[in-house]
Symmetry: C3
């Protein structure tokens, strides 16, 4: 496990470079990421490449025993290029050009920009093909950031037409697949296919879903151009890209063949401010651990391989609504947390506070005057404490994909229905039980998992149904959430009743659904006579059990009272629970706890808020994201590897244990 840092040598005088590099090495840093936005200094005029400065700093890094990770500089084409080839710029939906003046001002489908990309990436790749100090590459930077996945330029319109032609053999097939008889929307010819344009009313949902697919595919294809060039130059290099927090418009799973390593950019106090809902002061100081580890687990699972945090928040950051200071030690806590969830490197962004441009006021490991910034000691300490580990082994899978996010995002049918929040509701319960989770595509191989949670599978095909049925029949334990089995692959309502192809597996069907504003305070109750009542929110489905047995029914005397809200069905060696409501915490915890028990997954009692336990390679991290100190008891032959049973605010400890239930945790009085 390694610590790295992002460095922009072009922002600083050369006479300072060696001091910077020496301080990095002293801090235990192993990787230095560079050249992310350096096109204009690498190529001040067309064709006049200047690598001399980059050679020099790469050399210095090597001298001090570190390795360089280089970036292709395509996220910010220089002004001279935009001036020569203005057609590379994206357009907004209403036709407004997204102009040069910040970053990401290029279209993924621009043939001109593909040419320019090829030119610059090839030049860089060839320059460093034989340089042993360059260990790998990051392509571009944060694809899709600032809403740039979806572009409405003429190149995109042409490319979308081609994409649709590829997908559907004839225009009749297209009309059938999308369902265009509605509102007289039939296409007479593929030439009529167009991007979403400003229209009087809402857009056609099938077109929108395919436009989302096309847009994501465009990014994948653009990235492939870069990855191929890099691999051609040196196939020992790893190629990665830095993805973002709960980033929706790009389907990360589709990068599996073109990247050797997945990385993401982690800014805990920023992400939590963007997450919506109420935020505690502890979260404003250290972020929400489940929000962070959701990303860790997702990006780890894409390649089923350790991931990197390519940008790790080093202190206060400039871009969230408020620039709160992280808690003491938070920068160390985050590095451990990422490691426990499968990271092999945590790269702090950035080395020094930047004096210029849009990211002023963003902390570094060093301040602008060279003195230590708040994160420096944390990074150094993490570098000392962390050690090499095998890959995370998770007993449970949570099913996730981007197409469901796109489909539900266009037709939420409730202002507060958010795909990612629904996933978080179930995921947080898994984390509260201390269980490690892979976040995988619904069509993944599920054999290795004792239990599978699918918070929703809105789009559902027969083959997905077969896949899940096989899993359960062979002994798997499956928990399905609401809005499952509603649509076909084209975002069209299915002709059979929900959950469509999953009805037989579930042993029940949905009679009606509704979405509920907060004036209602709806609850369900167990059908076992225990009178336990649980709150839920946002969505309710009235189930009709067939083979299944009722598990929950609606409480209260409103119209749904007494109807079935959840069912359990034994199928083959396993069983499936279908829950027709969006559970609040207690219900999610009980559903998940029972699932784990049925599946024989070792778990903890529900952990206190802000306390999380994560397990990798025989080591169990106890991570305190809260301001209350906690006490941990070890059982059996467990022992402490780092720290011990009393853990202060925003601190952590590592135990060596056989399983998570060798520990118990409580808030100290």
């Amino acid at each position: 496990m390694s610590i790295g840092v992002c460095y922009f040598p072009e922002h600083w005088p050369r006479e300072q470079w060696e001091t910077d590099v020496r301080q990095m090495a002293d801090a235990g840093i192993e990787y230095v990421r560079m050249a992310e936005f350096s096109w204009r200094v690498l190529e001040p005029e067309r064709g006049a490449f200047d690598f001399e400065w980059l050679d020099e700093i790469v050399e210095l890094i090597g001298e001090y025993g570190m390795q360089a990770v280089l970036c292709t500089p395509t996220a910010a084409p220089p002004r001279w290029l935009v001036e020569e080839r203005p057609e590379i710029r994206q357009r907004d939906r209403d036709g407004t050009v997204r102009d040069v003046g910040s970053r990401r001002h290029y279209c993924f489908n621009s043939a001109a920009y593909r040419e320019e990309t090829e030119r610059v990436v090839r030049a860089m790749a060839e320059r460093y093909a034989d340089d042993p100090r360059v260990v790998g590459w990051q392509t571009d930077n944060e694809y899709g950031c600032h809403g740039t996945t979806r572009c409405y330029c003429d190149d995109c319109a042409d490319a979308f037409r081609d994409w649709v032609r590829e997908e559907y053999e004839t225009v009749d097939e297209l009309n059938e697949a999308w369902g265009t008889t509605f509102w007289s929307q039939q296409y007479d010819d593929f030439e009529q296919v167009d991007l979403p344009r400003p229209t009087p009313a809402q857009d056609h949902p099938a077109m929108l879903l395919d436009f989302a697919r096309f847009s994501s595919d465009s990014v994948v294809k653009y990235n492939r151009l870069q990855a191929d060039l890099l691999r051609e130059a040196n196939d020992e290099w790893f190629v990665t890209h830095n993805f973002m927090n709960l980033f929706e418009s790009v389907d990360t799973y589709d990068f599996d063949e073109d990247l050797d390593l997945i990385s993401w950019d982690s800014y805990p106090t920023g992400h939590v401010q963007q997450a919506g809902g109420e935020t505690t002061t502890d979260e404003l100081r250290a972020g929400n651990p489940d929000l962070l580890s959701f990303n860790h687990d997702l990006y780890r699972s894409v390649l089923d391989r350790p991931f990197w945090v390519m940008e790790q928040q080093p202190g206060d950051v400039n871009w969230p609504p408020h620039s709160t200071q992280p808690a003491e030690g938070a920068m160390r806590l985050w590095a451990h947390h990422a490691t426990a969830h499968g990271a092999d490197a945590v790269v702090y962004f950035r080395w020094r506070r930047c004096l210029e441009g849009q990211e002023q006021y963003h902390a570094g490991l060093r301040k602008q005057d060279g003195s230590a910034d708040r994160g420096y000691d944390d990074a150094t300490r993490a570098a000392e404490e962390l050690f090499d580990l095998d890959h995370v082994d998770a007993p449970v899978a949570l099913l996730h994909d981007y197409e469901n996010a796109w489909a539900l995002g266009e037709q939420p049918h409730a202002p507060d229905f958010d795909y990612w929040q629904l996933l978080q509701s179930f995921y947080a319960s898994l984390r509260a039980h201390g269980v490690q989770v892979d976040i995988v595509h619904p069509e993944s191989d599920l054999e290795s998992y004792d239990a599978v949670v699918a918070p929703t599978l809105h789009l559902a095909t027969e083959s997905l149904a077969d896949h899940l049925t096989a899993y359960v029949e062979s002994g798997g334990e499956l928990l399905l959430g609401p809005r499952t089995g509603v649509k076909d692959a084209h975002n069209k309502l299915r002709p059979d009743l929900q959950p469509g192809p999953l009805s037989e597996l579930v042993g029940a069907s949905v009679d009606q659904h509704e979405s509920l504003p907060t004036q209602f305070e709806p609850t369900v109750a167990g059908t076992d006579g225990t009178n336990a009542e649980y709150a839920f929110r946002t969505w309710a489905e009235w189930l009709e059990a067939d083979a299944a047995e009722p598990l929950l029914e609606y409480a209260g005397d409103d119209i749904e009272g007494g109807r079935t809200a959840a069912v359990r069905n034994a199928v083959g060696e396993g069983s499936v629970v279908y829950c027709g409501v969006w559970p609040e915490t207690d219900l999610a915890n009980d559903l998940v706890g029972s699932l784990l028990d049925r599946a024989g997954v070792r778990r903890m009692d529900v952990l206190p808020d802000g306390v999380r336990v994560a397990r990798r390679d025989g080591h169990t991290w106890v991570l305190n994201f809260g301001s209350d100190p906690i006490a941990v008891t070890l059982e059996g032959d467990a022992s402490w590897r780092l720290g011990g049973p009393e853990i202060g605010p925003f601190d952590l400890a590592i135990a060596e244990t056989n399983a998570v239930d060798d520990l118990s945790v409580r808030i100290r009085d």
Copy 2:
């Protein structure tokens, strides 16, 4: 009284049609509305009309004893037409094209689209001119929906110039009428007249009012084109159009010569979510009865003839913020409620849940798999229970028009001043007293009404003053609300003091006005020494009584304390009350109750919230829109026609009575 349903046969395989039609007939359905968005299936290529499918379904409908209501398909021109004649598309105020891809993508002033409309309407009308199974037509669909009444294309700019030239003989007359000396806005020539464009500051209010008039006139003229073609083909057909909930941009009164029947589209749980303000769970389950009946009464009064509900919510709907399930029986309650307010048919929208396009997740009378949806039994029961009735006879008129809504909408002078809400405040009091109300244009013949309520007559001419004075002098009882008599017909402030031409009738004038944010909690008190204090909101006028006697004065020690807030003036055989504030419920109830008593209108004591009584042709409906059961006592020779004295949640009963005060209602313990 009949039940109907909207059907889209083109969405379903032909082999299913007969099953669908038979089930409709079994349910008691009499009318089937079709072809609303069918242009592309009716005319797959220019000139190649295909009526065969429509012939077939019309024939089936006839065979099963039902009648067809056909729609002209102009609300959604097909892609091939837009491709050939792109100039038909509307533009937003900033010039952005409103493109094909949803519906209503055409401009009412497009000469090209008028040609196309004529072609398609003529073809359909001729095809079915002699078909006895087609009983009538709906023109287009929901004119103006999605903000499409007002368009900013070049055709509209030309048409607006023509409209202005027609209205004003010379440009000097225009300058005088609009008042353009202000901010140097004089026109030198009619050619300079333009649509509202993006300007640095707000627009000229007189221009805006005429633009609103012009835009509404453009819709009326476009509808006339269709109506004339239909009548030319078969003048036995009724011609209708389906208007919308509190829809403001189109002046429904101007359709009086071109339509034989007014209809509207009623979605109670949707409308109540759009209405603003706090919404109760009962309203989320069944809508607000006064909001619904306001529409019923308005659309009934336009032609003073029974109206239709052309689309009646059948269950959950997809487009409001939340898709709440209606209460048990709500679909039946709405049908009765509409009937009691003068409907002769209630047409449920739609027969089956739609699998494709923008309206997925919208309930039908049948689910997508053909099984009964929630509304099916309600519709069947309503078909059985309802019977033929004479027209509603209302003793009271509420004055309403669109020009006041437009003028006040542009210059509300308080963020919470909404014309429709002000009308609702007075209307709800009339409904709470169980009194049937016509909603009529201020210039209507008022002779037949015992009492008239004008919540506001912001624009006021001398002839309107004469009209109202004649009404009062001959014994009418008139209640006027605030902001009356402020402006002339051109939305210019009048040179005399408010209420301008009505000052003599009112016997008072307005010294000052103000609008009040919620930091103030203003009250008025009766001047009769009873110390009754009433809350009001938003607007206050300080009156100076002349011939009139003070009725209310401002309470409290703020600056308006002791000034006059309302007056009463006896004029001829009648009297007029002018109320200078926007009353909260208690004040509105007392003002309206006194008015009714003075006018000798038989009324009830104020009904409980959610309970409404409506009377038609000797029958009195008691309608419970609440979740508490109610008890009804009959007096005199009244008797029950349907149901009885105990009425459950969302249920109803019908009594035969001489007048509404033969009943009394209370919430059951």
Copy 3:
């Protein structure tokens, strides 16, 4: 001290003019402002000037002993001009034209409009050059109103390139000054410099600051064109312009050479509704006295000369969210308040309520029918009571400038960080102590001030540091607020630690900063052991004291607990306090009270809310902006000039005193 009124004779029939003018004279009015939007009546067609009507009304005004202030009519070019020269119109950032149809539809950088301006101003100036009844001119009207300071047309793009070329000799110098290496934003050539355009992410902050400077300079240059023409015609005239409440986009200081008099437009009940935050009913009736006097003090200080209120609210106004009626007497209170703060004339806007156009519903001194409106008696009374006075003499300066507002406005780093509100926090404390304040540019001569308060000096140069150090060394007392010394003159972060060049003067540096949402309830405590704890908001800096002594430290046990929040440093004959937090009221009062005491400034105990004392030329006004009556005690040889010791709601009194601490004020029981 004089009272004036704004009059639009072109709105009224000539036969009414003499009545209007006579009533003005009777009311004690001395100045009549006219012709503000009269271009179209002055020049109905190109070149055909018609001054006859203006001659006539000027003559009438002279006959009745009053003087005319004329306006150049350029704020609203007539339609014929826009039709001939459409290129004069501004564009929005996305390219949308800001069209004719309201006002301010011209670009300051349009060569065409400069020609037209020259033509019309020269014609007017020559016409009245020798007219003794015309005493001065207002150029245009409210420059920049409706967001029109910043324009995005081609003329502006050219002008901005020229401006940048002027500012920076070479493109390398530009790149260095702005810091364009960030995100590969280097310019290769000045031709690439462009206005801010729609870009995917945020704009470059250095470019934005220069664009703000350029935009303000464009207005200054345009005004100079007018001022020069007027002075050329008659250099006895005063030339003024009417600025606006806390108006940010135009740097008023840069008008110092081109204007003889600064004026502004005061609408107390409107401004307070725009100010954000909670508003009391007293403020809705009379405005916030500190918000008003901040403007008075600012506009007085620009030329260090008495200012005018060129438009004074006369009653209810049409444009704020709510049109509340001012308290009884408020129009008089405002005139006295302005006078006490240095006004030599208060000009009510407008004479009569306007019947037409966008400003209908705006009160006048007379109603539309000619009768007295609410403000008439107040204006008359003020005219009688007010008398001539020497200039205000202020012992304290508050440092303010526009560039800091622009820089912080682009990068607030907290949604609730507003430059003007931060200034108000300190200013209100000065006013609560009854101390008269000049609001001056940081680089002003400070010698005459006993104390100086700089709420923030975000942009800080070495020369500013020298200037302030010299002030303190020679005995000045300086109070500095947070975010001082962060940036260089180009809006680039400084390479040294905050407060950069001021570090030596302050004797401390900033280790870290953070912004805090309202979930935190942060406090600081005195380091003197008194346990006094003070609330603060929004911003916190962790200080490291060097030569300075700690004054405040963070309280509580959050991460900043115990760190230094404020320091005091003795330097030469004076001392400086640096406060690293945004103080809530109690802390601001204690910081300011101590400052005044150290500086030997005579002050009062903190005044009750809504009560303010202001002093000019030996007279002390006690002004009650609240609805509670107050009692005033005089000490020493102080005596009453107007009113006496008991002052009712919204009333005032004037005492003759030696200093403010000759009075004490309390709320009466």
